[in-house]
């Protein structure tokens, strides 16, 4: 941890020192002089790609507009319309349920697979590759592929994914698990490999059972990986869009519509509702941000110093 950080008593990050000698004074000067060359392109890209659209988005949520150029200020009326929209509330609870289910399933399964694939078994590299591969396919394509698979199966039961909201929900859960478990698995594998062997040996010598080793040693040591993975699965769960659009499109009757899709349909579904969609997006942003901060706060607390 300490190799790259800024530490009290040192003027520069410790990596610039050899013992107590500061290295690369020239480099420091150069950085001072040329930092805009390095940061400006990124700053510009960040501003163009994020800050400006974000600010415009917030502004547009208080307006009525057809194109982003002809916005008319309407105050809070978009937010009032949003409150009257039952589908938005429904999509919120559905999204919370969906995120909760997928966070647990993806992380538990990914962790278990990572444990299995860090044992000395034959062919672990092949398995790692295979499990990771679904992650390389785009969400829309995945959605359509899984729709075909589910239809093929459900036909025998005289039903389909877009006829039953429960089937749609679990279909989406299966799809997302299939897609993301491999990715989280890779993060967990690297975490597991970073656990120092001496800690494990000490636990073994003390006579810890394998469950005790898992819960008292491995998991606490893995908290940084768990923080990252729960953060990713939480935000992915909330932001899910492509897969939802392709797999069920919200059918039947908007009952499988997650928040992102609800916003999208609001924006394009009715004449004059662009601003309402925008207002929903602003609320959505606040919710996702709050969730992510809470999650970071709670999991970070559990991280231990190695």
């Amino acid at each position: 941890m300490h190799e790259t950080g800024w530490v009290a008593g040192y003027t520069w990050p410790v990596s610039y020192y050899y013992g107590n000698t500061l290295l690369g004074v020239n480099m420091q000067k150069n950085i001072k002089k040329y930092w805009p060359v390095f940061t400006l392109p990124v700053m510009a890209a960040f501003a163009i790609g994020f800050v400006i659209p974000f600010a415009m988005g917030i502004y547009l949520s208080f307006t009525k507009f057809t194109t982003v150029k002809d916005a008319q200020w309407v105050g809070l009326s978009n937010y009032a319309k949003l409150l009257a929209d039952q589908t938005y509330l429904h999509s919120f609870f559905l999204t919370v349920a969906f995120a909760a289910v997928t966070i647990i399933l993806i992380n538990v399964i990914a962790f278990a697979i990572a444990m299995a694939l860090t044992k000395e078994l034959k062919g672990t590299n092949i398995f790692r590759t295979v499990f990771f591969m679904p992650n390389l396919i785009g969400g829309i394509v995945l959605g359509y592929i899984w729709q075909l698979i589910f239809s093929g199966i459900l036909v025998h039961f005289n039903t389909a994914l877009n006829l039953d909201a429960r089937l749609g929900f679990w279909g989406l859960v299966i799809l997302v698990c299939w897609q993301q478990i491999g990715y989280m698995m890779i993060i967990y594998i690297s975490g597991l490999q970073a656990i120092p062997t001496d800690v494990m040996e000490a636990a073994e010598i003390d006579g810890a059972s394998s469950w005790q080793k898992l819960f008292k040693v491995t998991i606490p040591m893995m908290m940084p990986s768990i923080t990252i993975c729960t953060f990713l699965t939480l935000t992915n769960g909330f932001k899910l869009f492509d897969q939802n659009l392709a797999l069920t499109g919200g059918a039947p009757m908007k009952q499988t519509e997650l928040m992102a899709l609800n916003i999208y349909y609001t924006f394009y579904g009715r004449v004059g509702f662009e601003g309402v969609g925008q207002a929903k997006a602003v609320i959505f942003f606040i919710i996702v941000m709050a969730m992510a901060f809470l999650q970071q706060y709670f999991t970070k607390q559990k991280e231990v110093q190695q």
């Binding site: 040329y34 060359v37 390095f38 400006l40 392109p41 510009a44 890209a45 163009i48 057809t66 194109t67 982003v68 150029k69 002809d70 319309k81 729709q147 239809s151 036909v155 005289n158 039903t159 389909a160 994914l161 877009n162 006829l163 499109g249 059918a251 039947p252 009757m253 908007k254 349909y265 394009y268 579904g269 009715r270 004449v271 004059g272 509702f273 662009e274």
Partner: protein, 427 residues
Amino acid sequence: MNKKFISLALAATMLAGCGGTAASTSTGGGDAAGKVYYLNFKPEADEYWQELAKEYTAETGVQVTVLTAASGEYEKTLKSEMAKKDAPTLFQVNGPVGLASWKDYCADLSGSDIEGQLTNKAYELMDGDKVAGIAYVTEAYGLITNNKLLKEAGYDASEITSFAKLKEVAEDITKRKDELGFSAFTSAGMDGSSDWRFKTHLANLPLYYEYQADGVDNKDELTGAYLDNYKAVWDLYINNCTIDPSQLSTATGDQSEAEFIDGKAVFFQNGTWEYDKVKAIGDENLAYLPIYFGVDDENQGICMGTENFWCVNGKASEADQKATLDFMNWCVTSDKGVEYMTSGEKMGFNIPFKANPESKNTLFNLANANTATPVSWNFTTMPSEDWKNVLGQALTVYAADQTDANWATVEKAFVDNWAAEKALTAN
């Protein structure tokens, strides 16, 4: 020095990469002369519009750019294109509801040359006193019928003149399905590529009769007086088609079309735009029936109308607007323009302008030959996309499980949701 140069070069390329795209589309045809930018709605006609644009530029030197939105993406594309500096000068709306969104952008077309070319004032889309849009193509939909198969089953298209008879024929074919080797109807697929045939086009009929009964052309609240007929037709479609009703939810438009062309079904609810595909079964085998609704079958004709109105961007420069109007007029008056728009080998449109020649589209000629009163297209007054989508999903659920409760959901989606959506979009 070297490193500094490289990083500067990198920075410069990044910035250049960001700003470089905007200027690429427009070249030549100076501003003074005006230029045309047409955002086309019909992907199937894209190729011919591109050619026609080149022809026009070659003839007059005026630059014409044609961009076509992907199927179902027109509103989205229009929204983003309109926000650009070089916005479309010519675009289209689908009727009064689409116009509500774009009326601030529509120039008044009254007194323009192209308005003078219209054969009927009914093809003008009005915004108060302003002519906001002009229809450039009229279309007709009904039951495209394979009369050869019908004859094999012992009937003829000319015998079918009412819903009762249609039902009798369809149910008889279903009974003898295995023996005959075909079904009455193609699959009434409710996939996004096909559901508009029922949530929009078929739903036009209960709407039409309700408007007719009240003598109006739009309503804020519906009574749903003709929903029983809607149910009767829908029941007939889903229970006499090629596949089990529970599988309709994912069946596509292509599938339905293929079933008709392959002779697996007799009736195919679709429109004149399908002619290019269905002519495969042979013109002599084609018949075109109205979607008999059991209300006033004797006088009910094919559903004829338009949802394609040309609008000129009133926010474009005067010169561009003038160039656009000239281009539109040229398209519907010059030999070349009319040929491109109407020829069966090209766009194959039936255009509501004086220069429209006799159509080579057999479906359209069959529709014209039907002397009963054409059913007007009232679905352009449907309150929102949301309304259609909810209705479509309710129809899908009902098709899979045909209970009274599920039909009640369809009625609710039709009547209650109509009032709700009209109220929501009113201001």
